[in-house]
Symmetry: C2
Subunit: 152 residues, 2 copies
DNA sequence: CTTGCTCCTACAGTGACTGTAGGATGCACA
DNA sequence: TGTGCATCCTACAGTCACTGTAGGAGCAAG
């Protein structure tokens, strides 16, 4: 009763994989060098040959990076997804922590936005000598970001 | 009619300057190496000696960094502030551009927050094999950040 | 056989610092 | 005058997640 849809198991060159996932060739090689992607098979000429499993894994990595997860977190998520019987509490914790980080960055950036908006509005478009923006930078007596700067 | 308050013109060691501005010693030396701070005088033993002018300049740099300005922008702001007769249009442009950058980053992070919140809420706290978070990372059919990822 | 695209390795560069090693200086106190 | 210790010095490697470059080799079509 085996179905007739023979899986093509199509091999992909690194360029094909790059196009299929939207990850640059150099980045794929970089992911291999840091162990995010396994070392693929090679042709006789030494070129990398990827499978569908590689494509799925790289998609996972890319999506996690798009969501801002750090490489170490992605490494852990990949390990976790290889153990489907375990509790997903750790997955939840990683995602929740990342969400908290994102929210903190938003909060800091909103303080920055407030301060910068005030600065820009104060500008009278005169000469540098009378510039309120530079005054603010020089004096900085009342800055919203005084305790705990942003540092991106 | 000269006033009696003789300016002390107090010299500062690098550690004093660090305490006065909240910038680490290593960072002060780094700013000197990239030309944000001028090379100070030295004692006979080779230690850096700073003046009040240095302190003011370093405060300016620190405040600008706290507000997220990049080093190149700060370099330009410093140059501008040395020419008080010029128009401050360029200062305004730098600050406005930076504000726009901050707002764009906020917008991107808010998309991220939406997506991450959805992911975390979908988690059923079961086993990894049923994890919705990992599903989202693997499939990623409907991601808000599909066009233009964050990359911090 | 040649053209031109794809791919290879190895390494340096990015930004804004931080950390470390190994040694010199300078000042207070005995 | 000695000694102990905080402060300071230079030089360089490490951080993060890539990106860019140099110099060459593989491979398919014309």
């Amino acid at each position: 009763m085996s179905v007739k849809t023979a899986k093509p198991a199509k091999d992909l060159a690194i360029g094909d994989l790059a196009r299929a996932t939207g990850v640059k060739i150099t980045t794929i090689r970089f992911y291999e060098s840091i162990g995010l992607m396994p070392e693929p098979a090679r042709t006789e000429g030494g070129r990398r040959v990827y499978s569908e499993a590689h494509r799925r894994r790289l998609n996972f990595v890319r999506h996690a990076r798009d969501l801002g997860f750090e490489v170490d977190a992605i490494r852990e998520l990949l390990t976790l997804s290889d153990h489907p019987e375990q509790s997903c509490a750790r997955v939840d914790a990683l995602a929740s922590q990342h969400l908290a980080d994102v929210e903190e960055r938003i909060a800091r950036l909103e303080l920055l936005r407030t301060e910068l908006t005030r600065m820009v509005k104060a500008c009278r478009h005169g000469r540098v000598g009378d510039c309120r923006i530079l005054d603010t930078l020089a004096d900085h007596a009342h800055c919203a970001t005084e305790h705990g700067a942003v540092r991106d």
